[in-house]
Each structure stands twice: as structure tokens, then as C-alpha cells.
């Protein structure tokens, strides 16, 4: 890869008091590429993307956007550089409508001062159109986001990121709470975003979600980068092994089986009422 990465981390560390959440991380994400971050709970995935999205500032190290060093003071700042994040805890306000959420912080205005107002018609039509562009038909853009299903909410967040010209799209476990159909829908948007030339950073604990869409996989282990692999260099089973934190899944399964067996035994031993 000779082209300039859309976003790059160089030697990034993050300390929370005495907790070292990340240590010396190097990551490059190129346009039109889906980069999966893998690792067990607490490995530092969310912390990493919070640095990428401007929520946290790195204790050490550098962030580069299109090869230029930047420092994000806020998520808004990161968004100005085209880095958009769909947060694990969603980043949407349930009691507000789809179109109000869609344009929150970037409201289209009309009218002249002092009668400048929020252009609700435009917000409604544009948000509906932006969602239609990635293949979702919303019934009513004035519907409260809280009434949408998990997948629909993710799709609003993704459509919003794409619409506002994101170059880098970051998704923290966007499919974790979703059923089969809705997860597939979100994965479709990930691919859609990649085809549009966005650099996508994608976190998932689910191999069926991560492996099909990922081009590059980076493994985090206890705050350190334990390796980066292209899809051609790694098999699905190896990814599974990585995601389970290097632990032997067979051993875990055997443990569970033993546990179940002992439960059955206890139940059999108990006199029936």
C-alpha cells in the first residue's frame, strides 16, 4: 500500500490514572477498506476508537488524517476532519425525531435574522432521502428515534455519517444487539460505505459479522496491538481464536459441557416431587 492512509495512529498510548488502557498502538486505515478491531472485553477497542473520534485525547502519540498530524479537541472537531463515529451507546436521542437527530448540531437554517429558523421541511426530506440512498425506507421522519428498532437506529447513524461527508466511519459493535436480519442490514451499510470509498473501522465480537466484511484485522490484547493481518493472511478459525482472547475455545466448551453434565446429574439425583 503506497497510498496515504485516511487515518493513522502512531505510537498512541492512553492512561486513565494508573490504568494503562492502550500502549504504543500503530494503526493505518486506508480509504475503501474495512478495518476490524478484534480483542476480548477490556482489550481497549472502545478506548481506541474514542481517541480516533475525539472523545479522548491520547496520552502519548499522534493521530494523522490524510498523512497530516491533527489533534482532536472534541468529537465535533473530529467530524470536521471527516471522522464520524457510530457509538456503541448509539449517539442518538430517543425522544427526538429521526430528522431532528439526523441534523442535530448541523441544522439547516432558513429565513433572515432575527427570524432564522430550523428548516424542518428540508430536514425531513433530506434525511428521508439520505436513508433511501443506503436502502432504507423510513415511514415518517418525524417519528421518535426511540420507536425505531436497533438496526434502524444504526442505519440512521450510518446514513447521517455518510450524508455529512465522512471519510472515516467508525462503528463500535453496531451489530451486537441485533437480530440476524437487522445485523445483515447494518453489514450491508458497512459494505455500502466501503464501496463509496470510506475508510471503515469496525468492532464486533461476532465472527460472522466481522470476517465477511473485514479487509484487515487488528488484534488488541490487554491494551497492546498483538498483530495486524490482511484477510488473505488469516483464516476464519484463526480470527475466532484471536477473538476469544487466545484462549482455546475447545477447552471452554469442554468446561461448559462438564458443568452441564453435573447439573443434569444433580437434577436426576433430586427426588421428583
Amino acid at each position: 500500500m503506497t497510498e496515504v492512509p485516511a487515518i493513522e495512529l502512531k505510537g498512541v498510548s492512553k492512561h486513565f490514572g494508573s490504568v494503562i488502557a492502550l500502549r504504543d498502538i500503530d494503526i493505518k486505515v486506508h480509504p475503501g477498506e474495512v478495518h476490524c478491531l478484534l480483542g476480548d472485553n477490556g482489550a481497549g477497542k472502545s478506548t481506541l476508537i474514542k481517541i480516533l473520534s475525539g472523545v479522548h485525547r491520547p496520552t502519548h502519540g499522534q493521530i494523522l488524517v490524510d498523512g497530516v498530524p491533527v489533534s482532536f479537541r472534541s468529537p465535533r472537531d473530529a467530524a470536521e476532519y471527516g471522522v464520524a463515529t457510530v457509538f456503541q451507546d448509539l449517539g442518538m436521542i430517543p425522544l427526538m425525531s429521526i430528522s431532528r437527530n439526523f441534523f442535530l448540531g448541523r441544522e439547516p437554517l432558513k429565513g433572515i435574522f432575527p427570524f432564522t429558523r430550523f428548516d424542518k421541511e428540508k430536514a425531513n426530506t433530506v434525511s428521508r432521502q439520505a436513508m433511501a440512498d443506503i436502502g432504507i425506507d423510513i415511514r415518517d421522519p418525524t417519528q421518535a428515534v426511540g420507536t425505531l428498532s436497533g438496526g434502524e437506529r444504526q442505519s440512521v447513524a450510518i446514513a447521517r455519517a455518510i450524508h455529512f461527508g465522512a471519510k472515516v466511519l467508525i462503528l463500535d459493535e453496531p451489530t451486537s444487539a441485533l437480530g440476524v436480519h437487522q445485523a445483515a442490514m447494518v453489514l450491508k451499510f458497512v459494505i455500502e460505505a466501503r464501496l463509496r470509498g470510506l475508510a471503515v473501522i469496525f468492532i464486533s465480537h461476532n465472527i460472522h459479522h466481522a470476517y465477511p466484511v473485514g479487509d484487515v484485522f487488528t488484534l488488541l490484547n490487554r491494551g497492546r496491538r498483538a498483530g495486524t493481518f490482511r484477510k488473505s493472511e488469516i483464516t476464519r478459525d484463526e480470527v475466532v481464536a484471536i477473538m476469544s482472547g487466545g484462549e482455546d475455545l475447545k477447552a471452554v466448551e469442554a468446561e461448559i459441557d462438564a458443568l452441564l453434565a453435573s447439573i443434569h446429574q444433580n437434577e436426576a439425583a433430586r427426588p421428583s416431587a
Binding site: A79, M96, G105, G146, T147, H208
Partner: protein, 392 residues
Amino acid sequence: MTAMEREAGSAEGDHAAGRFGIAAKRRGAHDERIAEAGWLTRLLRRPEAGAAGGLIAALVIFAFLPGAKALYSLQGSMTFLTLSAELGIIATAAALLIIAGEFDLSVGSMIGFAGVVIGLTVRELGFPLWGGVLSAFAVAIVVGWFNGLIVVKTRLPSFIVTLASLFILRGLSIGITRTVTGRTQIPYILDGVPDPWTAEIFNGHILGGLFRWMGSQGWIDTRSDGLPFVPGIPMSIVWCIGVAIVAGWILTNTRFGNWIYASGGDADVARNVGVPVARVKILLFIGTACAATLLACIQVMEAGSADTLRGTLKEFEAIIAAVIGGVLLTGGYGTVIGAVLGALIFGFVQMGIFYTGIDTDWFKVFLGAMILIAVLVNNYIRAKALGERTAG
């Protein structure tokens, strides 16, 4: 890609789905799970639906009680409307702040304090009335800014921060007034001021000509000198309507209004997308302090005096009116129309109980019950707004 396509429902998936008797989902097709919401349902889903119903119920119930004639007369109506309007001014500002996720318990003390500022600047410093009024608003801006700043900087609950302000402002009002004048009231504020017209702005009437004409036509009751009992529409009502229109317009039609909802809906999310949550909240704290000051102006001009105890408990009345009007105590939801309806119910029932001769002590019982009912109804309406998803 292949796993995904299978999950998304390729031909194979459809086949499998068919085997289990599940109809494949088709994008763009009419979603049979969505019942068409009728206009009545949509109306009932509005945050102020409960308050509107409550007001109608109160209007009907009191019509059958003794004293209804006096209550529903022009004079009786004007009395309760004035009462409601005065409350409506602070309830509107309180509603915006509550929607943005904060409380201001210092509103009542601010009313007293603003009155003291007007009284002292006019009587002791020889300011013209307008100078006193401007001084009071300047003080209000500082107080509101201070309340807001402490809340957003410390992230302490505004309940506690403004509880402190409640005592500080009340204490300052009494302390300063007693030190300067030796009493706790400042009388004769309007006597000999160079600008009595300033008092008219807050305590005058509009449409005086119309009312006199209606009196001369015998349409409304007149005194022995031929002038109507009700000389016109009191300025407090005009102010309340003005404040409500401006606040309502800001809340529903402007970018700032969107930010108010977002700040109360989820401040972290709002901050993440670039909403200046701190600025929004500080401005709204300034708003409640200024609304309190406007009310103080109206009351001072009406009474011609300032009382250090004026406005006591008004902060709760304002919050109650907002809550009765469907504003969610937890923030992020509510309307200005609701807060005004809440103030109307409040004023109407208070006067209704007075006119019907029921012991006014019962008003407090009514108030308590009303609060409880309102909060329950609000929870229900909120669940409706979210299509039951967050119920429970």
C-alpha cells in the same frame, strides 16, 4: 460476503423462510405492522394533551359549582387569567430549562430580589423607573449566568445548586433591605418618579378604548361612573402571551430549540455531535432569572412597593405548571403550550376554589393530587411517544 447474503435472505434464505411459513420481508412494501395513526391518536400523543383535557374538565366541573357565575364573569375570568399569566411567565421559562434537563429553584427568591433591586435603585439611588428595571434585569442576567455556570462546570445537580441560590438570594434581599432601610419592605416606589409610563408597560392595560366602548354599549358591566369594571386587558396577560409565543417559537422552530431538546434528552450525545450544551443551559438559567424579574416588575408596578418575601414558593408553582403541562421532569420532552395550559389550570382552579367558597386550604390538596396525576399521565404519554418501547 456469502454469510451475509445468506443472512440477508437470498433465494436460499427465502426458501428456508418459506419452509417455516415466514413471509419474506420486502423493502418498500407497506409494513403491515404499522397501524395508521388517526388524528385523535396523534392529538393524544402530544405532550400537552393531558393538560388540555384537564383544563376542559376543570372548566366544566366548576361551571356546576356554586359561585360559577362570578368565576365565569368577565371580571372573574380576568382575575384568574391574570393569576395564570403571572405564573405562565415563569412557568414558560422553567419549562424550557426543565426540557434542557435542569431545574431552577431560585426563581421565587429572584422575584423578591429583583423587586428589591428596583426598589432600592429607585428610592435610594434616585434612578428613574426604567433605570431600576434595567438594573434588575442586569442583576438577573448575572444571577442566571452564575447559576448556570456553576451547574455546567461542577456537573452538580442543578437542584442543589439553585437550592443554595434560593437561600442566598432571599437572604440577600432581606439583609440588604434591612441594612439600607431598616425594614423589609420598600414602599412608595412609584411616587414622584420621572417616568410613570414605565409602570404602565408592566401594569397598564391594552384595548382600554374597546372595553370602554363595550361598556357604553352595555355589553360588559360598568361602574356608576360609566367606566367598565374591567378597564382592558392587563399587561401581565400581554407579557405572558408575548413570552409564550417567543419561547414556543424558539423551542419548536429554531436550531436553539433543537439544542434545548437534545441537551435534556442526552447531554453527552448532544455534546458529541457538537451541540454547545453548556451555553444552552447557561442561557436558559438566564432565561428563568429574567422571567422572574419580569414578573417582579409587574408586581412592583402593581403594588407600588417591593417586599423581600415576594415570590416565595413561586419556583414550585412554575415547576408544577410545567409538569401539569406535560413537561417531562427528566428532561428532553415537553412544550411551551403545555406549560401555559398548566398555568391556566393552576390559576383557574385557585380562583375557582376561592369563588365557590370552598375552604382555600383544599387548594393544596388539589395541587398535590394534580402533581401526582400529571406525572403519571406524563409517563404514560412519554411511553406513547416512544411507541411503548420504553414503557416499564
